[in-house]
Point group: C2
Chain length 251, copies 2
DNA sequence: TAGTGGTCTAGACCACTCC
DNA sequence: GAGTGGTCTAGACCACTAT
């Protein structure tokens, strides 16, 4: 019975359109409509747009549907939402893009190449400046430094150095990291909750150039990554890629 | 009355816990629980996990709540979902990171610097190889090439070249682009639906080095961006940043 | 055809924050 | 205190796809 009523309501709806309001039943269509109103400047940057309740009435759909559409737009940075205040068109044209950060093993295998990995260095050491800041430790706290290299079909693909904080982690043995990249070992040991990346271009330092098989000073793409478990940073990695390498991203 | 019943149900729920099942009322707690089961290998990579219906019963919440949690996890690449098949733990450890791509004006102003912009070149031209591929045009179709430079406190910050396809766009005048960066003009003219980025490290070419005020061959961070309106690529841009520049990203 | 995820709805309560 | 977004729920239908 309720099912029948649901059906009835659904089929009747298109004919209930009145007052020139479009019926937008899906969250995608609501999102499209909102985007169009922003593009056309009907809602200008910095301006408040109607509340979810008002929009759901205007567009003839449930508030949850409007909420879904607006949430997606807020996640892409197109609008900004605050309780009690309302929803504003973002004044900046900032957009957010999504980057795939695959494990390097997958990256290499996706190219159709044969993956291999080798541990270059494993030792306790006082932190570098960058590692100190990233892991929030003192200069006299010893950390574990791991350097490794990834090869695709025997050719250098990427080299990395990782600092691990033994205060906040189980301590790996050298033997373990000879088999398994530190990132993969890390992910199997602790529940990583959050990461921060920085992407930059650098000139290859002498050891980095040697590991990658390029000339010193060659432009390399560098990714710095800090992993967190809740409020504690547990690892800081720097990865260097050969110049041909591209990070691709969708928006 | 219904309100009271709702209240009652809510307050009673915690005491209805039975069979050792935890009550996970929020989508965040469902997500945390799923992540924990994945980390602990209770659900191994590549394996199917229970259906939404089963999970909602196990965890004592609505299917929509489970759906929300699993949708978020699928968006971050932790799990993979297919209708009729079910939900699998992703076998790759790939993660997705979110990059802020602000308008360069905002980027510069966020540094507390004074923004300025200057148009360096505006002309019709046959496409370059890269532009041809990106905009899906023939070698003999003329495009508009725009080169420009952004300054922070009078110092070069970024330079860019943009190819526009006049077949699929209104055509800007030189005067317009002397005032307004091509990206901002573009966004005000057409509803951009989708973008693709590539991020790479390059050695500065001679003109690029000159625009950025660095030595030729210096490593520069390069962002290539193609903008789409539905299925049509309308612009292809290459931006070059000085070596200090970092793209930062959260996961 | 049947099973699974994807979505919509109406109603309700909660959480935050401005006044 | 009141207004707004954030979320949960129960039920329903739709869309896709393996079989």
């Amino acid at each position: 019975m309720t099912k029948l009523l649901g059906n009835l309501a659904r089929t009747l709806r298109p004919s209930r359109i009145s007052g020139g309001n479009k019926r937008m039943n899906t969250w995608q269509s609501v999102r499209a409509e909102v985007l169009e109103r922003i593009r056309s400047r009907e809602w200008a940057p910095g301006e408040l747009i109607p509340t979810e309740e008002q929009l759901s009435q205007q567009l003839g759909c449930a508030r949850a549907t409007v909420n879904r559409a607006l949430r997606e737009l807020a996640e892409s940075g197109i609008i900004e939402r605050r309780r009690k205040v309302g929803t504003r068109v973002a004044s900046t044209a900032a957009r957010k893009a999504t980057l795939e950060m695959p494990a390097i093993r997958d990256e290499i295998e996706a190219m159709g190449a044969t993956y291999s990995y080798s541990l270059m260095l494993f030792e306790e050491r006082m932190p570098s400046e960058k590692a100190m800041r990233a892991l929030q430790v003192d200069a006299n706290e010893k950390l574990i430094l791991v350097k490794a290299r990834y090869l695709a079909d025997g050719q250098p693909h990427c080299c990395e150095s990782i600092w691990l904080n033994p205060q906040s982690l189980p301590v790996p043995t050298r033997a373990v990291l000879e088999k398994l990249p530190a990132h993969e070992w890390l992910a199997s040991q602790v529940p990583l909750t959050h990461g921060r990346y920085a992407i930059l271009a650098e000139a290859a330092s002498e050891p980095c150039a040697e590991h990658l098989g390029v000339a010193e000073g060659t432009p390399v793409l560098s990714i710095e990554r800090t992993n967190w478990v809740d409020a504690t940073p547990v690892s800081f990695a720097r990865q260097f890629y050969r110049p041909q390498h591209r990070l691709v991203s969708e928006e």
